[in-house]
Amino acid sequence: MEKYKLFDAEYKLACLVWDNEPINSTDLVRLCAEQLGWKKSTTYTMLKKLGERQILQNREATVTALVKREDVQKYESRAVLARSFEGSLPIFLTAFLDDHRLSQQEAEELKKIIEEAVE
């Protein structure tokens, strides 16, 4: 069975629910504010998103999880989103303002320089 994949923030919200379910949605909002620094609207937006994906449910102001913790996996890669963000920048601007990403070789080189300097 394929696992549900969650982003970091989604995963953290789900964890709060697993730890405390069933939990009153007002309490969850308070909990999210304390632990995740979220505004009320942020929490409800996220609840709605995960509700649509059948991971959490919010019924009569009580939030419960629909999937088990073992069935959920965090996204390791953010490459998809990152690329889409980068795609919005004109090439010349990225090239001009941003240094090119380090190649493996360059990274190794720098590592050596750091080590040498410390010795």
Partner: protein, 736 residues
């Protein structure tokens, strides 16, 4: 000219000035390579200032002053490309140079041809639109990418304090303007976190998160200038490096390795970062930064002192505009040229509707040196300049006058352009006069004539004053009172006043200056000077000795005012006012003219119109708050106009009553119809009868005087007659 091209011109000027400063800053920055980067970072404030602020203070110690481009206009705005895009400043040799003729007193011809502003779109207007489109596009792009970043950050989760975590980002940065937050990538290693937080915290403390967006906005404003992009890039780098150094200062040198490892690992792990968006705060140039961190040493005392001095000095030198004073001292010819221009401006501004808001010299060049023409070497300079009127449509262009494509007035008039004839005396320059390119005389002989005329005038004045003075002083020997001498030789005294006039006054004041004004000679000259000065004499203490009086003398300049202008609706009155002003006014140096006509009738016959009026005219000068009447008359006249094909009346003929015994007959003579010449019954008697009591005219005259002064912003002015009775005052209650 609309607002946009003007704005663009200003931006362009700033951009060019800033480019020079950028190059300077880059040079200084190279010298500061070994110093802490905070000094390089601080240097960029000058560039920021130059890119943002068109105004600056002037100083003799200015970097820009090193460049021999003297284009400081009168508003303190340093203008390198006057009005942005201008055609090349004139040809090198003015036309008709071989054919010159001197004209001693340059004054503006007063004939009238109305100029119309040319509304053709110019290159500058087109460029300014392109510029605006670029600005809008870049602004839109920044806002969109800022929103995108904020979206990626939703929802980030709280780590602690103002630090948030997100798996949507590849590197740490600060985001937000009012309550900036630090965002770190979700997967960041525990070991790296303290260093990252220290770095980003430093950015927040130093308000870098506000400085960078500001710098970016300025970059957008100057998007067309590659040097500005370059300096933005260098500035970002200096900002990051000085931030790194500040972290090391706090954590100690031992943290170097760990800190640079953190920089490295963060940069390797990230895939994309919002660094390209300056509204968020990312890293830049990892390799250079790591090297900088590893090589960083806490600066020694002397390094700091020297760097502080270097930066302080650079800031001062790069911020200042070159001082006008400095230019003038270095270049006295330029100050003479400014003087000539100021005179021309004063001429224009006599018309209350005209204001010259800018001026520039487009050419000032030594044309010829005459070593042996006079007692001193003579240099002739060609001068060309432009004046920018606030509203070109208000300027009446006389024959030969011209306007360039940007609405600047050219100096040329029907006489061509001015050549300054300058005599060099012990290294100091004195303007001997002006000759014009447009006249048909050879330059050398024109200059010769000018000098000869000047010498002759001076010699004549000297002779007149000295000869008459010696006669006055010759008797009565026994008297001690200078007035006894004056009374004994009233004719000679009047000669100096009447024939010497202003020149005699200048000569006598020069004698005071030389100290050649002792005793009786001084006393008589003082009396003469006082009378010639009239209301310009500021010294009221009559007990002073001649030399004391001269020391205290500070000649009150008169306020130059234009002639009266009729602004009522009546066509006939308008015509008569215009004709009377033309008839009665002199040059502005002879004061301003107020007229008050009483119209007895106007008769039209065919295309001719004849108006009969008696006019009370007066010419005044204003010294401070005191009015001086320098001339005036009450004269009946018949003014004839011809209707041209556009239906406008053009002055054809002006007939005045004659003096003395001919007075009444001359009036009867001109009281006729304009075309047929038929006598108009009863008109002459009415005019002659009215002349016996023209109190109504006096009233109208002073009403007009009041209106005119008020319209020119004069609130206080008093006119006193020879008996010391007040004839007119701006503060008379019945006028309020």
């Amino acid at each position: 000219m609309s607002y946009l091209p003007e704005l663009f011109s200003t931006i362009l000027d700033m951009s060019i000035t800033a480019s020079l400063v950028i190059i300077g800053v880059v040079l200084v920055r190279m010298c500061l390579r070994k110093a802490p980067k905070v000094f390089s970072y601080a240097l960029w404030t000058v560039v920021l200032f130059r890119l943002l602020c068109p105004l600056s203070f002037t100083s003799a110690f200015s970097f820009l002053g090193l460049l021999q481009i003297n284009s400081l206009n009168n508003a303190g705005v340093w203008e390198l490309m006057p009005n942005a895009i201008n055609t090349a400043p004139a040809s090198t040799v003015p036309a008709g140079l071989d054919n010159l003729e001197q004209v001693l007193n340059p004054s503006l011809p007063s004939s009238a041809a109305i100029a119309s502003a040319n509304p053709m779109p110019t290159a500058i207007e087109l460029l300014s639109i392109i510029w605006l489109l670029g600005v809008v596009a870049l602004l839109a792009y920044s806002v969109v990418s800022y929103i995108k970043v904020r979206k990626k950050l939703f929802p980030a989760t709280l780590l602690k304090g103002n630090i948030y975590q997100s798996d949507q980002i590849g590197t740490a940065f600060v985001c937000g303007f009012i309550q900036p937050r630090i965002y770190v990538p979700a997967g960041v290693k525990e070991a790296d976190l303290p260093y990252i937080l220290e770095h980003e915290g430093t950015h927040i403390r130093r308000k870098d998160y506000l400085i960078k967006p500001l710098a970016f906005l300025v970059l957008i404003m100057h998007w067309f200038n590659p040097l500005v992009w370059w300096s933005f890039f260098l500035m970002s780098r200096d900002m990051e490096m000085s931030c790194d150094e500040s972290v090391l200062n706090r954590l100690g040198n031992g943290a170097k390795a760990a800190y640079s490892s953190s920089l490295l690992s963060l940069s390797v792990s990230r895939s994309a970062l919002p660094a390209a968006n300056p509204l968020a705060f990312g890293e830049s140039n990892i390799k250079a930064r790591i090297k900088n961190v590893l090589n960083y040493k806490q600066p020694g005392f002397w390094v700091i002192i020297i760097a502080v001095l270097a930066v302080g000095l650079s800031v001062m030198v790069f911020t200042a505009n070159p001082g006008k004073q400095e230019i003038d001292e270095l270049d006295p010819i330029r100050s003479l040229a400014w003087e000539v221009m100021e005179r021309d401006i004063a001429n224009y501004e006599l018309d209350p509707e005209i204001r010259i808001i800018d001026q520039k010299i487009t050419r000032l060049e030594l044309l010829k040196v005459f070593e042996a023409l006079g007692d001193t070497p003579i240099h002739v300079y060609a001068l060309e300049y432009r004046l920018l009127p606030e509203d070109l449509s208000k300027v009446v262009l006389a024959g030969g006058m011209d306007v360039d494509e940007d609405g600047w007035l050219k100096e040329t008039c029907s006489m061509g352009s001015p050549l300054l004839v300058v005599s060099i005396n012990n290294g100091s320059m004195e303007l001997a006069g002006i000759v014009w390119t447009g006249e048909s005389q050879e330059l050398e002989s024109a200059v010769k004539d000018l000098l000869a005329a000047k010498d002759l005038k001076r010699a004549e004045t000297e002779k007149l004053v000295e000869e008459n003075l010696s006669i006055i002083m010759s008797s009565p020997k026994e008297a001690s009172n200078p007035f006894a001498y004056i009374r004994a030789h009233e004719q000679e005294y009047v000669n100096i006043q009447k024939y010497g006039g202003e020149e005699a006054l200048q000569y006598m004041l020069a004698q005071f200056e030389k100290g050649n004004a002792e005793g009786l000679r001084g006393a008589i000259m003082m009396q003469l000077s006082k009378e010639l000065l009239g209301l310009r004499n500021n010294v009221t203490d009559d007990t002073l000795s001649p030399m004391e009086w001269y020391q205290a003398l500070d000649i009150i300049e008169d306020t130059l005012l234009p002639d009266f202008q009729y602004d009522g609706p009546d066509t006939i009155e308008k015509l008569v006012y215009a004709a009377e002003i033309e008839q009665n006014s002199g040059t502005h140096l002879q004061g301003f003219t107020i007229v008050a006509p009483k119209i007895f009738g106007s008769y039209e016959e065919g295309k001719l119109l004849r108006v009969f009026a008696t006019t009370y005219s007066g010419r005044y000068r204003l010294y401070g708050k005191v009015l001086d009447q320098v001339g005036g008359s009450v004269v009946p006249a018949a003014i004839t106009y011809k209707k041209d094909k556009n239906g406008n009346y053009v002055l054809l003929d002006y007939l005045q009553s004659q003096d003395g015994a001919h007075w009444a007959p001359s009036i009867r003579e001109f009281c006729r119809m304009p075309l047929s010449g038929q006598e108009i019954p009863g008109l002459a008697d009415t005019i002659i009868g009215h002349y016996a009591d023209y109190d109504d005219l006096r009233q109208l005259h002073f009403d007009n005087l009041y209106k005119h002064l008020a319209a020119n912003g004069i609130r206080e002015a008093t006119l006193t007659n020879s008996r010391g009775e007040i004839q007119f005052s701006m503060s008379w209650p019945d006028r309020l």
